[in-house]
């Protein structure tokens, strides 16, 4: 059999945790091979080993049938292995060409030869249908385009095996479709692709075979065409899963959050949200749908007290909180699962225990008269760890930086729900999580609702908004372009609204 890459019996241990335990993955030449697994299952570690970022404790790596030792990413590049990371590694003030040639610049004597490089990039871009302008600046192009630049970077270095790490996490629905076309083009030209994802739909649409790993072990490699999504999900999670969220009809109560004609500026001092009004009642989930960057972040920050609005008011349970401190709002019952877990949600160099009391360290029993009670903090954290299944090497004492992304997210969600807030703001709560965790988190959000709490859900995943919300507000360019009952709408209507087509007769908030 003609394999581009074979990873045989790979084992990798980190202190307190076996990340990979006898994993085998064989990539045929010319196939899209999906790597499916829950968060913390060991996908990133495995790909890190292939890309030379980690060294396997045991096992073999073969490229084109020959055994190799990949000591660092440069070796991987030489072997024709390229990786598109989830977070792009681009210089935003450079042009596309400058970014692509960075590190392997073409030269004419002592002078940088951008022209030849640009020509080659244009050629590659046409051949694979990428449609990238080599002279555009990174900061001026969309996220989807930036991803194509990353792909071009690998093609420019003659990569034969491309690793795409969660490539669709940052894309709009249309861009996801385009990426599928690009992957097919790449395959036709003889490239091989490893697709790391936990979106089963995408695996079904794009991959030929799929290797499933769970808790560091290979569960099996299946033929995608012959396997149902449900079967793959069960392999991944190890039990039966449901995609549909079970929920009773909402029983909305009193208004908890009332946003009235709020206008907020963004970091560039432009109005990102204008004249926005919304009500969220106790016992309902209100979803905010919209393409990324249409004012959702600014809305959340204004409600949470992290950004000062230009005009308008925010009320919580009837009390005006427009100018209140963040801590005041937390104490009055706002919980906030932030958009960017590493930037805002966690102090990465603190332990889990320390992070779990980030908002409540000053209250008894976590501290008394300014002295921390470490035992009480540890017990509090252990409770959250247990009830939200946060997996780590050393329990509450683990440094959060060492946790996988999904476990970091579970820790944050656990922390915020443990606050038992009257209003829970959940921004992209399941971003980058696997089916099992998503199912679990959705259940917990609905549980909050059923306990009579108000939930404001902001997500770029339309499925998530449609599944969870009772009412859906759609934003476009900072304006509320419509608000609809979730039971009376569908993907198409919301999609139209997101694109800026105004709803007719949309009812008031």
């Amino acid at each position: 059999m003609d394999y581009a890459v074979e990873m045989l019996g790979i084992r990798k241990e980190f202190p307190g945790i076996v990340a990979n335990d006898d994993i085998t993955l064989c990539l045929k030449r010319g196939e899209v091979h999906a790597l499916l697994g829950e968060n913390g299952a060991g996908k990133s570690t495995l790909m890190g080993i292939l890309f030379g970022m980690y060294q396997a404790d045991r096992g073999l790596v073969k490229v084109n049938g020959k055994e190799v030792r990949i000591g660092n990413p440069n070796v991987a590049t030489k072997l024709g292995i390229g990786m598109v990371h989830q977070h792009f590694k681009l210089v935003s003030t450079f042009t596309v060409t400058e970014n692509i040639i960075l590190g392997s610049e073409t030269r004419k004597g002592f002078v940088l030869d951008v022209k030849t490089a640009s020509r080659r990039i244009e050629e590659l871009s046409q051949r694979y249908g990428l449609n990238v302008d080599p002279y555009a600046k990174i900061e001026d192009i969309s996220v989807g385009m930036q991803q194509r630049v990353e792909i071009l970077k690998m093609l420019y270095r003659d990569a034969e095996v491309l690793i795409l790490d969660e490539p669709t996490a940052v894309l709009t629905p249309q861009e996801i479709l385009d990426l599928g076309v690009i992957m097919r083009n790449l395959i036709q030209e003889g490239k091989s692709i490893i697709l790391i994802t936990h979106k089963l739909k995408e695996i079904k649409a794009n991959a030929h075979r799929c290797t499933v790993i769970r808790r560091g072990r290979t569960i099996g490699t299946v033929d995608v065409a012959a396997t149902s999504e449900l079967a793959m999900a069960e392999m991944m999670v190890g039990r039966q899963v449901t995609f549909k969220v079970d929920k009773k009809p909402a029983v909305p109560g009193a208004v908890v959050l009332e946003v009235d004609s709020l206008s907020v500026k963004n970091n560039k001092k432009c109005l990102a949200l204008s004249d926005f009004s919304l009500q969220v009642r106790a016992g309902e989930i209100v979803g905010i749908a919209g393409v990324d960057g249409n004012g959702q972040s600014e809305l959340v920050e204004a409600i949470a007290g992290l950004r000062k609005p230009e005009s308008g008011t925010v009320r919580l349970k009837g009390e005006e909180i427009t100018a209140m401190s963040v801590r005041g709002r937390i104490q009055r019952g706002i919980g906030h699962i932030p958009e960017d877990r590493q930037k805002r949600g966690l102090v990465l160099d603190y332990s889990i225990a320390e992070n779990m009391v980030l908002e409540v360290y000053h209250r008894e029993p976590h501290s008394r008269r300014g002295i921390l009670n470490k035992l009480a903090i540890k017990q509090y954290a252990e409770r959250i760890i247990a009830s939200f299944d946060v997996r780590s090497g050393q329990g509450a004492a683990s440094i959060v930086r060492s946790l996988s992304g999904g476990n970091q997210q579970k820790a944050i969600i656990g922390r915020e729900i443990e606050l038992n807030p009257d209003l829970l703001i959940a921004v992209q709560p399941t971003r980058g999580l696997d089916v099992g965790s998503i199912e679990y988190i959705h259940k917990r959000l609905i549980e909050q609702r059923d306990k009579g709490k108000a939930v404001l859900l902001i997500s770029l995943e339309l499925d998530e908004i449609l599944n969870l919300s009772d009412r859906i507000a759609v934003v476009n360019q900072g304006e509320r372009v419509g608000i609809v009952e979730a039971s009376e709408t569908d993907e198409n209507e919301i999609g139209m609204l997101m694109a800026g087509v105004k709803a007719e007769g949309g009812e008031g908030a």
């Binding site: 801590r327 102090v347 603190y350 360290y361 000053h362 002295i371 921390l372």
Partner: protein
């Protein structure tokens, strides 16, 4: 724990490099080091002097370390120390109080002086995002020239224009008991003050909500803001504490080791504090130990110079090399890991290869 090993290796490398320097310049390293350490430890007096030399370094080291633990880079310990020492001296020369009371007033004045000099960069940072490296350095020179003007104008010495009057006995940290115990050394109560400061530092950083807040702000300002911690207040508070610690170093220096304050000198301990904090890995006990070590080198180098032909610059070079190694801790970490791996590879064939268990 791991940083402690790195610091020890840095010290070891520094001493080795010093030995090479001595050998290359035609001197015996053995004799050099013997006299260097004898100079610092030979008799009670020398031990006392070593401890006294280390005292201001403990304070400035704590000052830099405290700021660093909370995400701030305090380059201004020199100015804070100088101004704290100046305020304490001014209090000592101005008030006529019983010794315990006067010393208490001077300690408070020293802390306030240092804190005052640090709170300005703190406010500038919190409100206008002015980088504290720039503003604390500039505050150093403001302290320098303020003292340069104020000492001759208000506290002129009896014989010299360039120094203040001598502090009266009631206003000095020296006490006969300690002086006698250490055979006439200039060791003084400042050392005890420094040990208390080490303990208070450790307590604040590790056990209090204040330390928790300050560290959170230092590690991730945005997460701290999200959690409702008053970020700006934390920055200012952190600078106040750091500056106050440096100010206490000024009290120990000018009212303990010395008995007056001289103009035209920015105390070198301010900058050495950065090195002390670095070598001490910004932990309170680490700072204490590294300050004592620096104190030993500083107080021993005179004796080495007197007994051998080795120039005192060698001692300074050793200190500089140690700082380089401490700063290059990543290199040392790699070296340690490499050594460990080599040993592991060597014993793989032996019976102790328990990692092979399935």
């Amino acid at each position: 724990m791991r940083s402690g090993i790195i610091s020890l290796i840095a010290v070891l490398f520094g001493l080795l490099a010093g030995a090479v320097l001595m050998a290359v310049t035609g001197h015996s390293p053995l004799a050099g080091y013997t006299y260097l350490f004898e100079g610092g430890l030979k008799n009670p007096e020398r031990i006392g002097n070593t401890l006294a030399t280390a005292t201001p370094l403990i304070f400035t080291g704590l000052s830099v370390a405290f700021a660093f633990r909370t995400g701030l880079f305090n380059i201004g310990a020199a100015g804070q120390m100088l101004f704290g020492g100046f305020l304490a001296s001014a209090a000592g020369l101005s008030f006529d109080l019983p010794k315990p009371l006067l010393l208490l007033v001077m300690v408070i004045a020293g802390f306030v002086g240092g804190a005052l000099w640090a709170v300005i960069p703190g406010i500038l940072k919190a409100r206008y995002n002015v980088h504290e490296v720039v503003s604390t350095i500039m505050m150093n020179w403001i302290a320098y020239w303020t003292v340069y003007y104020a000492v001759p104008a208000y506290f002129k010495g009896e014989f010299l224009e360039t120094e203040s009057k001598l502090l009266p006995d009631a206003a000095t940290l020296k006490i006969p008991f300690l002086t006698d115990l250490f055979g006439g050394s200039y060791i003084n109560l400042g050392l005890f003050l420094a040990v208390i400061a080490v303990i208070v530092f450790a307590f604040i950083i590790n056990r209090t909500t204040l330390g928790y807040e300050l560290k959170a702000v230092g590690l991730n300002r945005q997460a701290a803001e999200y959690a409702g911690i008053a970020v700006n207040r934390s920055i200012v508070l952190s600078m106040i504490i750091a500056g106050g610690l440096a100010g206490l170093g000024g009290v120990a220096e000018y009212a303990g080791n010395a008995a007056n304050i001289q103009i035209g000198i920015l105390p070198s301990q301010g900058f050495d504090g950065i090195a002390v904090a670095l070598l001490g890995a910004n932990t309170p006990v680490g700072v204490l130990l590294s300050a004592l070590f620096f104190g030993l080198l500083y107080s021993g180098r005179g004796f080495m110079n007197a007994m051998t032909e080795i120039p005192p610059e060698i001692a300074n070079s050793i200190i500089a090399i140690i700082i380089y190694f401490a700063a290059a801790s990543i290199l040392i970490e790699r070296l340690v890991r490499w050594l460990v791996r080599r040993r592991a590879a060597g014993s793989e064939s032996g019976p102790s290869a328990e990692r092979k268990v399935e």
